[in-house]
Every structure is written in structure tokens, then in C-alpha cells.
């Protein structure tokens, strides 16, 4: 098997109120293509930061992150953004919907932008995630959990090569969590995506191929 995501010698510090705070020290790991991985760690351990680093949203202090052949921090912001747009979908902890678009437009937005919009798949996702009654509403008019499911639908609809999800079931009940898990499974099995999920949920982690735990600035397989 060919590793799809390769992280080498990654270091990340934060500067806050004059003091330097180390999040990752010499981080190394690989994730194979068309697998699902759980990122597990206590709150504040650096899950979100790691996802941001992989997505190219936050820059590392040193080290390399390779997605396929693309060394993500070697290129210009423009190229990185373009790569992200076409290959990666992110489900953010804070949902991150576009405020001026309604739910339907939010779901369509990313896939329409990269021109791989699939209406049948969209209808399937809307049904699966139970969003059909919300389509005309605006993000600020729906609950946190609903926003989270909209964000998930949007990300999955693009059929990304790499899906990064930051606590995607954090705000969901049991029933909805199961629906989300199903959606991830469809993405992996039908569209051969590689999925990385930061999560607290044991249940979600259980079904995934690989479990990585972040502890003391390092990452380890379980």
C-alpha cells in the first residue's frame, strides 16, 4: 500500500502573550490512501491544530506534510489554496457555513465551485442526514447540530480525495451520529476517499481503520 498522507518531523509552537507554547515536537506518521483514521486526544492536545496544519490553514514551524505528491507547505498560498479547494474537504468544529447563503446553497457551494456537483448524491445525502426541511433556511436560523450536519453534507458532496473532520459528531445525538458514520462509510467505499477524523467519540473511532492518539506533543498508533 502507498501512504497517501505523510507527516515528517513536524514542529509547531504557539506564541501567546509573549510565551512560546509547544504543541507538536518531531511529529511523524503516515496514513494510507482510502482508509479512515481516528485522531484521538484530550481537549487541548492539538487535534484541531493538526487538522489545520494538514489542510494548509496554519503553517508548521518546521517539517513536511505531503498529501499524495503535493508537499503542501512547499508551495505558494495560491497553489495551496487551489489544492485544498480541489482535493480536500474540511468539516470544522465550528461548522463554518457561509452566512449569506441558505442551507441548500451552502451544501451545493463547494462541489459546484469545483464542478463535480452530483445532484443524485446530493439528494441522497440530504435524505440520509435529515436535512430536507431545512433547505431554505439560513445558517443563523438553525441549531448547532443542524449546522453541523449541513457542514458534513457540504464536505462529503465534493467527493474529496481527503476528508478532514474535526469532532464532526460533537454536537449530535446518537441517532444523528450513526447517520453521519454511514455517510463517511459511503464516501470511503464508493468514492475511495481518505478520511481523517478528530474525535472524542469511542463509538465513531471504533469503526475506523486506524486509531492515532495525540499525547505529550507526540502521536502514536493504538
Amino acid at each position: 500500500m502507498v501512504p497517501y498522507l505523510v507527516v515528517k518531523k513536524l514542529n509547531k509552537d504557539f506564541e501567546s502573550s509573549g510565551e512560546s507554547f509547544e504543541v507538536f515536537k518531531d511529529l511523524n506518521f503516515e496514513i494510507n490512501s482510502n482508509t479512515s483514521t481516528a485522531l484521538i486526544g484530550e481537549s487541548g492536545s492539538g487535534k484541531t491544530t493538526l487538522i489545520h496544519l494538514i489542510a494548509g490553514l496554519e503553517s508548521p514551524d518546521s517539517g513536511t506534510i505531503k498529501i499524495g505528491d503535493f508537499d503542501i507547505w512547499k508551495y505558494s498560498e495560491q497553489k495551496r489554496a487551489n489544492f485544498r479547494l480541489n482535493n480536500i474537504s474540511i468539516i470544522f468544529q465550528q461548522y463554518n457555513l457561509i452566512p449569506s447563503l441558505n442551507v441548500l446553497s451552502n451544501i451545493n457551494f463547494h462541489s459546484q465551485l469545483i464542478k463535480n456537483y452530483d445532484q443524485n448524491f446530493r439528494d441522497e445525502l440530504i435524505n440520509l442526514l435529515g436535512l430536507s426541511k431545512l433547505l431554505k433556511k439560513y445558517p443563523e436560523e438553525i441549531s448547532g447540530g443542524q449546522q453541523q450536519r449541513v457542514a458534513i453534507a457540504r464536505a462529503i458532496l465534493t467527493k474529496p480525495k481527503l476528508l478532514l473532520a474535526d469532532e464532526p459528531t460533537g454536537n449530535l445525538d446518537e441517532e444523528n451520529s450513526t447517520k453521519v458514520t454511514n455517510a463517511f462509510e459511503i464516501l470511503q467505499s464508493r468514492y475511495n476517499s481518505t478520511i481523517v477524523i478528530a474525535t472524542h467519540s469511542k463509538k465513531l473511532a471504533q469503526n475506523l481503520n486506524l486509531k492515532l492518539i495525540i499525547k505529550n506533543k507526540k502521536i502514536n498508533k493504538i
Binding site: 490553514l57 489554496a81 489544492f83 463554518n96 457561509i98 447563503l101
Partner: protein, 814 residues
């Protein structure tokens, strides 16, 4: 004590944390005050100057002698002039040292011209002259003024008179010297007879002759100039307040949670209310003071222009220097303080009504819910009804101002609705393939709320500029065309003597340089118990070809020549509601039986005149009004022979040079007034547009944090900051372009109200309304450039260092 603790801990702390907001608040208030106070200063200064110049004591001549460098003249010069046989009388005038309001005018009773109208009406009629000669402690003033100066213990014998204007005291020149602490000094000389040919002596002692034109026409024009300036300054002030409004209310929104916490801590509503009120007063008075200071600078920068204009008209010695009193500063400060309190009312009321645990709507929430808000529609509806009522009622100055205020208010309510309408039309009717474009228009729709206040300020300032410019330009153009026609001949001659008048009318026609001569006579009469002026003239071809007319009936001139047709000026038309075809009757109070019945056959424009006037053929004038021989003549001279004819008439009929008027000069003066008005309004409107674009800048800067968070989802998906910058820029540009487009009709409406309502109610004449698209285009272009600069800067800054802010949003702490 607790109040001040709160004030410092809570209210001021906010500003320390947001210095940029504070800066813009200061900028807004001080700029608005600058605009307002500079105009006030120019107006008061100019008024002071020409009020003091309107009283020419010694003769009805329009020439005076003053020192070349505008200084006081030494008394010795008087003796020198008299020795050289110059017919002059000295005048010393000035404001009382301890009461600037009261103006002292000192005259020399011995050399006063006995032929002047002033002498005749003031001294001769009342037999005061002898008394004044003997008793030099006599002082003449209006009853009102006497009441004022009684308190000052000036040791004068006060005589009441109604012929002097308010705040003016006429005394002997020696008394004036003492009162004004200017012993041995003279302000100017007035001429009592013809000027000697040899004028060398004047230059030797540093004096010069200047023309004064204290004609009523021009006084009215200046008044209209000031009224327009005031209206303009007021509009400018309102625009300035828009900046303050957006900044102040943003700061209040950001403080709401802090206030809630303070309330929960047990601090009373009253304390919070007072501390906020105090804060507003303090901030506005400090920045207002700065504004007054800059207003002073701006005014002194513009004043030389204004001074020279008015100096030209009245021959007044206007010093290009401003007198500034404490009361004026305080009055100037009241505007920004009340303005600031006014715009914070809604917040102050909210504080007062708040419950300690009430859930304040967070700012973001309001931002997003805005698109559903249509409360302004019924308000606009009410305003429209109100303005229709005003339009139907008689024209009054106050109502005209009301109408302009209503227009401003309703157009600023309408603008956001208009923007929303256009964008929802785009959003609902066009389906874009690219989701980014769909998003672009939907998001622009939401942006309206964010910058609607600054767009309003922009719209209003452009509309006001277009309106005022258009009006001044229409006025200028109409006026010069009108003058061309109205001043039918180049020369105008007047005399007091009937014998001379008769001679002139019989003999001069034979003079080779004179083409024709048209006698004119004017008298007072009454209509509807108001004073009117009646002009008798010969309705000859030159009038038929030239005289400007706004409305006429068929065969108008024939009806004037052969029948009982008369023409009336616009002032008459608007004041009495008289129209063509109406039969009117005027009364000559001296002879009550002599009633004239005439039919109005035409209406002529009469800019600059303040009283209603009728024009009637000379023959009928003689029958009904007065048998006296016409004493004024319009003389049609051959081209280039004005000077020859003038000299000829002066020598032959002993007419003063000053009674031979070169109408061309009048025209030049009037044109000058308009050019100056235009320059001044132009520079002020430029200032206003800059203020308005600054509003745009302020609100963009103060809201940029919210905006970055707003755009971060797109960035996170993979749209670069560069593209977002372009999008953001394009959005503002789109909104600005729609706003500019919207401003044109509003500006034209303002212009319409100024020309058709304000001018009629204030002066009794209507200005023709003309279009100057090239001028609007220039204004729009300049504003567009200003806008582009002021949106480019914050947009650029916003994206330069934004990644950390964008990322932060997705972290736990957010």
C-alpha cells in the same frame, strides 16, 4: 464619585481599547463642526461688514475715499483734502470697545452734504440739524438700541429715531473719537460733490476712491448667497453626523455586554445613563472645539474671497480677519453636542429601559436579521404625505426648510430599500452557473446593512453637492442672460432736477453718439396694503425685443401700449397670487381717489429685487401716479462711445459722474458675486464629499473584524485572500455605483426645492431649473475616486494579516 469611577472604568476604557474608533469619532464630529462653524463665521463676519456698510451718510453717491491699505486715516489728511478743494466729509466708525454689537458712526455736521438723501430725510425733515451743530453730545439711535446703550453710561444725550438701523448710533465725530478710542482718526471720507479732476493729492497721502454699490438689488443677492451657504452648511453638518452615528453606535453595541455585567453588579441605571451622557458630552465638546478651531482656519482661508466680493458690492472695508468671541464659540459648540446626543438617543433610551438580565441582541444578530426589516416603509409613506401637504400649502421659508429636511430623511430611508430591491431582483431573477457569483450578489445584499449609514452619508453629500451646484449654476447662467436683456442699454443716467431731466430728454437725442433715450420713472404705491413699486416706461421696440418675460398673454406689448395692460414682477405674482388676466387696483396713498384699474398681461423676472413691482406705460403713469417728469434715463449709446457721452452729459448738465451708471460694470459685479459663491460652495462641497468617503472608511475599518470572520468559510474552502479582496472590493464598488446613481435624482430634487421653494419663500422669485449633466458627472467621478481610495485601504489592510484571525475562529476558544 461612583459616577466618575464608572465613567473612567467602563466608558473610557472602551475607547482606550479601540483607539481607531475614537479617532474616527473625533474626526467625524470635528469635521462636521468645522464645516458648520466656518460657514457660520463667514456669514456673521460678512453680515457685520455689510450691515455696517449700508449706511452712507453724506450723499447718495456711490464713491467713497479710503486709505489704500485699509488703515485708519490721519485727521491731517482731511485738512489737506479740503485745502485742495476736495468736497469731502470725514466718517469715523467702529464697534464700541466693550460692546462690539453696538456700532458707532461719527459724522462731521459742518461738512455733511446738504444735498444727500440722508441729510434730507434725517436732519432736514425733523429740524435736527441746528441742534446737532450746537450740541455735540447728541446721539441718535433706534429705541431698541437706546435701551441697550442706556446701561453703558456713555454720557450722551440720546435721541430716538426710526431711520437708523438696529445697533447703530450716530454721533458727532469728536464724540466717536472718544467712544472708540481713536482720536485723530478717520475711517473714510464721503464725497459731497463732484470729484476734482486733479487727483494727485490722493495718491500722495495714500488714499483711493472706491465705488460702493449699496443698491437693494445686490443686497438681496448677497442675502440669497448667505441663505444658500447656511442651508449648505446645515446639510454638511448632517452628513458629518452620519460618521459619528456609525462609530458611536458600533461602540455602544460592543459595550452592551459590559453594561449588562455592570447592571448585574448592582450599578444603577441612573449612574450608567449619566456616565454615558457625560461621556457623549465630553467627547463631543472636545472634538467640537477642535472642529471650531479648524472651522476658524477654513473660514479665514475662504474669507478673503467673500470679503472681496462683499467689498466690491458695498465698498465696505472688510478686514480679512475674523473676530471671535467666547459666545460664538459656545454657540458653535452647541451644534455638535446636541447632534451627538441626538444620535445616541436610541441607545440612551435602551439603557434607561434595560432590565438587568435582559438579553441584549448581539450586534451580529442584528446584522443578519436586517434584510427582513421593512419598518422604514410606513415612515417614508408618512413623510411623503407630509411633504404633499406642505407642497399644497403656501410657500414659507420654514416650510421650505422642512421640505428639504423631509427629502433628506426619506431619501436616506429609501436608499437601503432601493439597494435591497435591486439586489434581490438580481438574486431572484438571474441564475448564475458559478456559485461564487451567486454568493457574491447574495452577500452584497447583506453588506448593505454593514455600510448603509456611510452609503447614506455619501449619497446625501453627493446629492447636496449636485443640488447646490446645479442651483448656483442655473442661477448664474439665468442671471447673466437676464442681466443682458434687462440692462437694455449700456448707460443709465439719473438726476434730481426736473429742469435737467427735461433738457436731457429733449436735447440729447440729437447727440451723434446717442442712438435713443428712454425715460423711466419710479414711484411707490400700495396694493393690498403692502408697499409696491410702480415703474413708468416707454414700451418701445428695444423693450419689446429685450425685456425678459416669464409668462405673457397674446399681444402683450400692444395691450401695454394702447390699453390698460401692465406687467408685474415675479415677486408680485407670488406674493399676491396675481396671474395673467387678473384685474388689479393699486392705491396711491397721497391721493386716495386716484385708483388705477389695470389688467395683468405679463410677468417678468426681477432677481435681486425685494419688493413687488408693476410696470406701466409712461402715459398712463402720468395719468394715475405722478405728473413729475421722468428723472431716469436709459441711454442707448453707440458702441465704444460710453466715455464720450458720459463726459458730454456731465459737462453739459452738471450731472455727477456717479449718476451716470455703466451697466456693464454692474453686470461684472454681479457675475463676480456668483463666481465667488460658486468657488466657496465648491470648496465646501468638496470637503463634504471627503467627509462622506471618510465615513465609508471608518465603518469599513471598525467592522473589518466581523467581516474577516464572515469571509473565513470561503477562505477555508480554498478561495485565496487575493480573490476575496477582489470580491470585497467589487461588492463595495457595486453598492457605491448604485448609490451614486441614486444620488442624482435626489440632488435634482434638492435643487428643485431650492430653486422653486426656498428661493420663492425667501426672496419671491423662482429660479429656472436647468440641467448640467457634465457638472454632475464631474462630481460623481470625483466621489468615485475618493470612494475607491477609501475602500481600497481598509480592504487591503483587512486581508493583509488576516489568516490568524480566520483560523482562530475554528479553535475551541472561539
Amino acid at each position: 464619585m461612583r459616577l466618575f469611577d464608572i465613567l473612567i472604568m467602563c466608558n473610557f476604557k472602551h475607547w482606550f481599547r479601540k483607539p481607531l474608533q475614537l479617532f474616527f469619532l473625533f474626526l467625524g464630529i470635528s469635521l462636521a463642526t468645522t464645516l458648520w462653524s466656518s460657514i457660520q463665521l463667514i456669514n456673521t463676519q460678512a453680515k457685520k461688514s455689510y450691515e455696517s456698510a449700508t449706511l452712507l451718510i453724506s450723499s447718495n453717491q456711490n464713491k467713497i475715499i479710503k486709505s489704500v491699505n485699509n488703515e485708519l486715516i490721519a485727521f491731517g489728511s482731511f485738512a489737506k483734502l479740503r485745502r485742495n478743494k476736495w468736497p469731502v466729509t470725514p466718517i469715523l466708525e467702529g464697534g464700541l470697545p466693550n460692546n462690539d454689537q453696538i456700532k458707532i458712526i461719527g459724522v462731521d455736521p459742518f461738512t455733511l452734504s446738504k444735498n444727500s438723501n440722508f441729510y434730507k430725510s434725517f436732519f432736514e425733515k425733523k429740524d435736527r440739524y441746528q441742534e446737532f451743530l450746537i450740541n455735540n453730545r447728541l446721539a441718535f439711535a433706534s429705541p431698541e438700541t437706546i435701551n441697550k446703550i442706556l446701561k453703558l453710561n456713555l454720557n450722551l444725550e440720546l435721541v430716538k429715531t426710526d431711520s437708523l438701523v438696529k445697533n447703530l448710533v450716530l454721533v458727532d465725530i469728536s464724540i466717536a473719537e472718544n467712544l472708540l478710542n481713536k482720536s485723530g482718526r478717520i475711517t473714510r471720507f464721503e464725497l459731497t460733490d463732484r470729484i476734482p479732476k486733479d487727483r494727485k493729492i490722493l495718491t500722495e497721502i495714500g488714499l483711493e476712491i472706491i465705488k460702493t454699490k449699496s443698491s437693494d438689488d445686490l443686497k438681496q443677492l448677497t442675502r440669497s448667497f448667505h441663505l444658500n451657504l447656511t442651508a449648505f452648511g446645515f446639510l454638511g453638518f448632517i452628513v458629518g453626523l452620519f460618521i459619528v452615528y456609525s462609530t458611536l453606535n458600533l461602540s455602544f453595541e460592543q459595550r452592551k455586554s459590559a453594561f449588562t455585567t455592570l447592571r448585574l453588579m448592582g450599578i444603577s441605571i441612573k449612574t450608567l445613563f449619566l456616565s454615558t451622557l457625560l461621556e457623549i458630552i465630553l467627547l463631543s465638546s472636545i472634538s467640537g472645539l477642535v472642529g471650531v478651531f479648524f472651522g476658524h482656519i477654513l473660514a479665514s482661508f475662504l474669507l478673503p474671497d467673500v470679503a472681496s466680493t462683499i467689498g466690491n458690492i458695498y465698498g465696505a472695508n472688510i478686514k480679512d480677519q475674523l473676530v471671535f468671541s467666547v459666545t460664538e464659540i459656545i454657540i458653535a459648540l452647541l451644534m455638535p453636542i446636541f447632534g451627538a446626543i441626538l444620535i445616541s438617543t436610541s441607545f440612551l433610551i435602551q439603557i434607561y429601559k434595560s432590565e438587568p438580565l435582559s438579553n441584549y441582541l448581539p450586534f451580529l444578530k442584528i446584522y443578519f436579521n436586517y434584510y427582513k426589516n421593512f419598518t422604514s416603509i410606513p415612515i417614508i409613506f408618512i413623510l411623503v404625505i407630509l411633504s404633499v401637504i406642505i407642497l399644497l400649502s403656501p410657500k414659507e421659508l420654514f416650510l421650505s426648510f422642512m421640505l428639504i429636511a423631509i427629502l433628506i430623511l426619506s431619501s436616506s430611508l429609501l436608499l437601503p430599500l432601493f439597494l435591497r430591491l435591486i439586489l434581490s431582483l438580481i438574486n431572484n431573477s438571474i441564475k448564475f452557473k458559478n456559485p461564487l457569483i451567486t454568493w457574491f450578489f447574495r452577500d452584497t445584499f447583506k453588506q448593505i446593512r454593514r455600510i448603509s449609514l456611510s452609503l447614506n452619508a455619501l449619497m446625501l453629500s453627493i446629492a447636496v453637492t449636485i443640488g447646490v451646484d446645479n442651483m448656483v449654476k442655473s442661477f448664474e447662467e439665468t442671471f447673466s442672460i437676464w442681466l443682458d436683456k434687462r440692462l437694455i442699454t449700456e448707460m443709465y443716467v439719473r438726476t434730481n432736477s426736473e429742469t435737467v431731466a427735461k433738457k436731457i430728454s429733449m436735447e440729447t437725442e440729437k447727440e451723434e453718439n446717442i442712438i435713443d433715450i428712454y425715460p423711466i420713472i419710479e414711484t411707490e404705491s400700495y396694493f393690498d396694503n403692502s408697499k409696491i413699486s410702480v415703474v413708468g416706461f416707454k414700451p418701445k421696440k428695444i423693450y419689446i425685443d429685450n425685456w425678459p418675460i416669464v409668462h405673457k398673454s397674446v399681444d402683450m406689448w400692444k395691450k401695454i401700449q394702447k390699453f390698460n395692460g401692465i406687467i408685474i414682477n415675479e415677486q408680485f405674482h407670488y406674493k399676491f397670487g396675481t396671474n395673467i388676466g387678473d384685474e388689479i387696483q393699486t392705491t396711491d396713498l397721497l391721493n386716495n381717489n386716484n385708483k388705477l384699474k389695470s389688467v395683468v398681461v405679463g410677468i417678468y423676472p426681477d432677481y435681486g429685487n425685494s419688493i413687488p413691482q408693476i410696470m406701466i406705460s409712461l402715459e398712463r403713469f402720468k395719468d394715475y401716479y405722478s405728473n413729475s417728469f421722468p428723472n431716469n434715463f436709459a441711454v442707448d449709446v453707440k458702441k465704444g462711445s460710453f466715455n464720450n457721452v458720459s463726459e458730454y452729459i456731465q459737462n453739459k448738465y452738471d450731472i455727477l459722474e456717479t449718476d451716470i451708471i455703466n451697466q456693464k460694470t454692474i453686470k461684472e459685479f454681479s457675475k463676480n458675486v456668483f463666481e465667488k459663491t460658486f468657488t466657496v460652495t465648491r470648496s465646501l462641497s468638496d470637503a463634504m464629499i471627503i467627509i462622506a468617503t471618510l465615513t465609508l472608511l471608518t465603518s469599513l475599518v471598525s467592522l473589518s473584524e466581523i467581516r474577516v470572520i464572515n469571509l473565513s468559510p470561503l477562505w477555508a474552502l480554498g478561495i485565496t485572500r487575493g480573490s476575496l479582496l477582489k470580491i470585497e472590493f467589487a461588492q463595495f464598488l457595486l453598492l457605491i455605483l448604485i448609490t451614486l446613481f441614486f444620488a442624482i435624482p435626489v440632488g435634482l430634487l434638492i435643487c428643485f426645492l431650492l430653486t422653486n421653494y426656498l428661493n420663492i419663500s425667501a426672496f419671491g422669485w423662482k429660479l429656472p431649473f436647468q440641467y448640467y449633466p457634465a457638472m454632475w458627472g464631474k462630481t460623481l467621478f470625483v466621489s468615485l475616486i475618493c470612494c475607491i481610495i477609501s475602500i481600497a485601504l481598509p480592504t487591503f489592510l483587512m486581508f493583509k494579516n488576516s489568516t490568524s484571525l480566520m483560523v482562530k475562529r475554528y479553535k475551541n476558544e472561539c
